[in-house]
Subunit: 371 residues, 2 copies
Amino acid sequence: MADMLVEQRQELLLRELHATGAVRVAELAQRFGVSTGTIRRDLQELADLGRLTKVRGGAILLDRASSRPDTADEPAAPPAPEAAPPAGDRTLGLLVPSATYYYPRVLAGVREVAARRGARVVIGLTNVDRPRDVRQIEELCDSGVAGILAATTGPHHLPEETLAALRDCGRPYVLMERQPLDPYEPCQYVITDHRQGAFLAVKHLRSLGHDRVALYLTDTPTASVVREGWTDAVRALGLDPAAPVIDAERTALGSSHAARQYDAFIDGCLAGGVRAALVHSDHDAIELLQRLRARGMRSPEDLALIAYDDEIAALAEVPLTAVSPPKRQLGELAAEMLLDQLDAHPSAPRRVTMQPRLIIRRSCGAKEESG
Amino acid sequence: MADMLVEQRQELLLRELHATGAVRVAELAQRFGVSTGTIRRDLQELADLGRLTKVRGGAILLDRASSRPDTADEPAAPPAPEAAPPAGDRTLGLLVPSATYYYPRVLAGVREVAARRGARVVIGLTNVDRPRDVRQIEELCDSGVAGILAATTGPHHLPEETLAALRDCGRPYVLMERQPLDPYEPCQYVITDHRQGAFLAVKHLRSLGHDRVALYLTDTPTASVVREGWTDAVRALGLDPAAPVIDAERTALGSSHAARQYDAFIDGCLAGGVRAALVHSDHDAIELLQRLRARGMRSPEDLALIAYDDEIAALAEVPLTAVSPPKRQLGELAAEMLLDQLDAHPSAPRRVTMQPRLIIRRSCGAKEESG
DNA sequence: ATAGAAACAATCAACTTCGTTCATCAAGCT
DNA sequence: AGCTTGATGAACGAAGTTGATTGTTTCTAT
């Protein structure tokens, strides 16, 4: 997931350019996590296509070479040397660990609010393969953002180092899907109650008659919370606590190792007479679905599934019932909170927990809801 | 590995493409459990049909220029609140435990939002002397309110009986300054982080040089949380844990019993060499102030005080530094949340914790802040 | 004016992805 | 059984992409 397509990168680049009127090579390289050489090549290409004009240090919108009779010695000025970061007053810096999973929806929410309230958004990418949260935070600050919306890499509870970087940047910030370990740390955040999400899923399966519900977890920040919800639900609803729980390693999708993990999980379920499972991450649920079919079983008949995340659950061959975090609303709310800070709205710091919904589709064996 | 029809696979591929704006060959191959060659063939076919644009590494929508990463978000199924009560009637029922302390500010916030959004507010009173939460909830419902904002009597964590009454009334509700004990209870609330408030106060006194901070608590729902904050702060900041803590009984103002409690507290402080205290409830802080003066002592010189609640702290003879919960904003937010529900805004249930502020005045001995 | 810093273009090696070709396999038909 | 068809996986050389390096140009501060 680390890399995006060239076209995606250039698209983002252009978007940024149109939003600010100017982009800088070094900045873009940082943000996208590629070398300056690559950015230069992108700029060259886009310039050849007439989509922008290269100038020293970066690129600007149109061709403007001939106007400006004055300041002939300053032709390259427009890319806004960091002295005047483009209208930095109301620019929100957004730090996300993935440009392709989960966070696009969050971003959409942020965008909407920003647009409505007349603010701009710039994105800094970080990810598991190459975590560089602190670096990106500093970059965003240097580029003159007024505040930061941060969904960091790493665990649900921010490491002190990252938190320090945010504190030190001297700008308001709002965490998204992350929170500090110390409850007394004065900061704002918006998180989804994944624990509740897992609980909802188990409860639903329970209501469909299952008294054993397996759990498949992948190694992500969310896993521990999902497990908590599952555990609590199992206890509270009187289910069999011996149902299989697998902590799958993060694998290259489709690797034989992955296949083995799916098989082990299925075997575990069969052995224990378990006919229902909560599977963390849509992708794994989809893979599991295929593995099931490959072995001559079907969902929901042989194994009722509920996926966690609802990114692409609807697209599975058997549409997956899924726990759906309110990603878009989360983005909206975080943006609102940050903008409130920036606009000196005297609003008290808030910590918000949002509840996910359960979206009933086919894979759990219940009657499907309309919608 | 599997037997998926070609058409099926391509259909899924397209849906994924539309959902995320871009797909990668390698990723798809792994997800579908086929070789990259197969995916390439798929892409070629679909590209020939003009359904997507192939690019190196994968495919994007259409012809770049118009690829939109932020596509439709969630299915956005309106949760359809059970047959919306008397459509159009938008009366909010407000349940508060006091019409004179703390809640007037909250009410002001509720009123403002209600007015702005064209709703009415009716109030039901309950209180410590005559708790009748359940009764009042039923009353409010009978009188036809569309939803309830509830700050109940009793402990911070709602008793099951009260919660049941709210659930049973069949209308949306939002708790204010209260929350259910069960974290899985699906309900919305807005609370103030009084623990943080107490922590802030102790921390401030610590920064003024006090290494012993006494605590005066009255028997209210907030007391236990304030104590928690005090305890955590004492531990975290390395203060003397032996400083006096008094759990005062709720007394008639000015009674001799009250006076005895204040005296006991002051004596305790004197005996332990404690020169700073956090006093829960403005009223008690003010009384304490008078008692101090009656005994020839002054604040902050002899005893630095921080009051908790900031209702009338500013009006004391020595203006009291106080922890100030964002009461008005709390009311506003709760009202917004309830109205969102009523208006079938498909908004995810939220749980909000608001952070109180510390307002520096004279009684703590620090330089006073403006504002 | 000049030294030093920053930005640049060109180039290369490592790597990924591409398209083609070929062998395999299953299903349907003769 | 034998043949055909279509889908697929594997292999391989070709082509595209990228990070690093290098030498040059441009800018800035002294």
